[in-house]
């Protein structure tokens, strides 16, 4: 066991992958000389050199597409898009190429690229720098979408993603980078299944990424009210681990989705649709959700807080679902 921050965990995962496989390299804006805009890649340039830790110009579409081309050419690139806010500039490459080339080529070509990006709000960065788009990306067939919410997953998921023959997008909630936890040395990690982070019998809090911590805290507080909340960390947003969702809800008969994405058309809706489809008759109450309000994220702390999911909102919504 070693205590690591989430930031260090990602860095260690990159290092390990680069040491194990010469085909792996990292490219993105300021990953090298600057040390990564969240200091994730700090020191890696010195260790691996500029050929494998590649600073790119501000050209999101081209360098993402170049990563995909390099993947088809035999490399295993890790493309870092600084934040998901800028990934919109690369979306054509992601949706029209990464997600379709295997299909369009009848299975001849695959694109084993890993695209990492920071996501989420909560740092007063306002409307253009606070998107939570991971759930939205999960709409696209051909992609695997990961949302590591724990230090252990930050450490473990990247290596698995690099083993995947198809494009994998990893969304790292920027508020998590300073989280710290012990991580087992030879942990095993999958990128297929959701994980129950806390057991409970009365209600399932279904969440991921930056909202896991809030959900756990809410669950803890709900306990004091006699409400046993199970917390399910989705981990993988596409394909969804529907089995895990349905079996948790089959047990608790009540569900609350906690999602930092905007409410309408968010992945929260998809989870509700799956629950209704697979578990309608066992529900004791309609599934509910706590999401971001439908507003571009405002700058002032109090408004931003009001716009994002919070422990209080989760507790209040859970009480409603419980009929209290």
């Amino acid at each position: 066991m070693t205590a690591l921050t989430y930031r260090d965990a990602v860095r260690e995962a990159i290092r390990e992958a680069m040491m194990a496989d010469p085909r792996v390299f990292l490219m993105g804006e300021d990953v090298g000389r600057y040390g990564g805009c969240y200091a994730v890649s700090k020191g890696l340039l010195e260790e691996f050199g500029p050929d494998r830790i590649r600073d790119t110009p501000l050209s999101e579409s081209a360098f993402t597409g170049i990563g995909m081309g390099a993947a088809m050419g035999g490399m295993r690139p890790i493309v870092e898009i600084m934040t998901c806010n800028f990934s919109l500039l690369a979306l054509d490459q992601i949706m029209n190429n990464a997600a379709t080339i295997r299909h369009m080529s009848g299975g001849q070509f695959n694109v084993p690229v890993v695209i990492r990006m920071a996501t989420g709000g909560g740092r007063q960065l306002a409307a253009q720098h606070s998107h939570s788009l991971e759930g939205w990306y999960a709409h696209i067939p051909g992609l695997r979408i990961l949302a590591p919410a724990t230090v252990e997953d930050a450490r473990g998921m990247l290596g698995q993603a690099l083993q995947d023959p198809d494009p994998v997008l990893i969304f790292e909630n920027a508020l998590l980078y300073n989280d710290s936890a012990d991580v087992p040395a030879d942990q095993r990690c999958d990128i297929d299944r959701a994980a129950i982070r806390r057991e409970g019998a009365d209600i399932s809090l279904i969440t991921y990424g930056g909202s896991l911590g809030k959900s756990l805290e809410a669950a803890h507080l709900l306990d004091a009210e006699g409400i046993g909340a199970e917390v399910l960390d989705l981990r993988v947003l596409r394909p969804l681990d529907e089995g895990a969702i349905l079996s948790s809800v089959a047990k608790t008969r009540r569900a609350l989705i906690v999602d930092e994405g905007w409410r309408s058309g968010g992945i929260s809706a998809e989870i509700i649709a799956r629950i209704v489809d697979g578990g309608f008759w066992s529900l004791d109450a309609p599934p509910a959700r706590v999401c971001s309000e439908e507003v571009p994220i405002p700058y002032p702390a109090h408004l931003e807080e009001a716009a994002l999911p919070s422990v209080e909102k989760i507790i209040a919504a859970a009480r409603t679902v419980m009929g209290r």
């Binding site: 081309g69 080529s105 009848g106 001849q108």
Partner: protein, 331 residues
């Protein structure tokens, strides 16, 4: 791929026959496609390359088996010239399993692993980053390949063109950008889309060496492509090749061509790359009428066989609809 790479065009009889045959293959194949489209054997969008054959054929002469090719939705000619069998291309146009993309792609998405043919990309300029990425992979693995990317002059207005040319030059990637300047992007003439219509000047602004050639002259194209590929293989970084050409047909099968005069088309048709090269080669004594007749006969047979192959091809069963979304191993 049996085209030997090298720096100079060897204009002997054999090579002349090859160039002519390759161009005629494309022409006759596509004439047949147009026919098959009207009887709805081929569906979706169909973009004919007729008139531009010298570009694909000329450039492919300079490439070897290790090189990668990325093309657009107007790529039947490139696929044929690259060596993908006409049978498998035609089957793809029909949507049959035996097609070079298993039937999933159709006319706009021809792919072939054996020939390192990476599509068939239908988003304008979307293939450029892929080609640069393939080149980066070769560079990082110290492989000798040159990645060649074909695109129309319309692509030059896209941001991805700019970003990719800059990165390719900055990283000295072994990539050959072949811009097929046929003067129109659908109905938009170059002068209506570019403030600077000299595409070579654009390339220069990224410090990429470029050359502009008569894209209706297969020998000139081949010679320029060989020079470019040679320089790229020496490690000099990317090159840009503008081929000035013209499409004789409509943009796609839906285009009433309101934007250009018949007379303009006629002028260009006088420069038909096939007729010009054939007449030159006959005059130069590199071939005889009988050769041309034989080529036409061979090609007619090849096209007929391709159609038959496609006709006899099979439809993928509907049960496998969800295949090729991700690796089967991950399902």
């Amino acid at each position: 791929m049996d085209h030997p790479a090298g720096t100079k065009v060897q204009l002997n009889r054999d090579h002349c026959l090859t160039l002519l045959r390759e161009m005629i293959r494309i022409r006759r194949f596509e004439e047949k496609c147009a026919e098959l489209y009207t009887v709805e054997k081929i569906r979706g969008f169909l973009h004919l390359y007729i008139g531009q054959e010298a570009v694909a054929v000329g450039v492919m002469q300079a490439l070897g088996a290790d090189d990668a090719v990325v093309a657009t939705y107007r790529e039947h000619g490139h696929a044929l010239a690259r060596g993908i069998p006409a049978t498998r291309i035609m089957a793809e146009m029909f949507g049959k399993q035996e097609g070079c993309s298993g039937g999933r792609g159709g006319s706009m998405h021809l792919f072939d692993k054996a020939n390192r043919f990476y599509g068939g990309n239908a988003i304008v300029a979307g293939g450029l980053p892929l080609a640069a990425g393939l080149a980066l992979a070769d560079q990082m693995q110290a492989k000798p390949g040159v990645s060649t990317c074909f695109f129309g002059e319309g692509a030059a207005a896209e941001g991805e063109f700019h970003e990719t040319l800059n990165l390719a030059a900055l990283w000295r990637l072994p990539v050959l950008f072949v811009c097929e300047n046929n003067l129109y992007a659908m109905g938009t003439a170059l002068g209506l889309s570019e403030s600077e219509t000299d595409l070579a000047a654009k390339a220069a602004s990224y410090r990429i060496a470029s050359e502009a050639v008569d894209g209706m002259n297969v020998v000139e194209v081949e010679a320029a492509a060989r020079r470019a590929v040679d320089s790229i293989r020496r490690g000099d970084g990317p090159r840009f090749l503008e081929c000035r050409t013209y499409r004789f047909r409509a943009h796609s099968m839906f285009d009433p061509q309101l934007y250009r005069d018949k007379s303009e088309i006629e002028i260009w048709m006088k420069r038909d790359p096939i007729v010009r090269f054939r007449d030159w080669a006959l005059k130069a004594g590199e071939m005889h009428d009988a050769d041309v007749t034989r080529i036409e006969a061979d090609v007619a047979a090849e096209v007929a066989q391709a159609v038959e192959f496609a006709e006899n091809g099979t439809w993928e069963p509907v049960d496998t609809l969800l295949h090729h979304v991700g690796a089967e191993s991950r399902l």
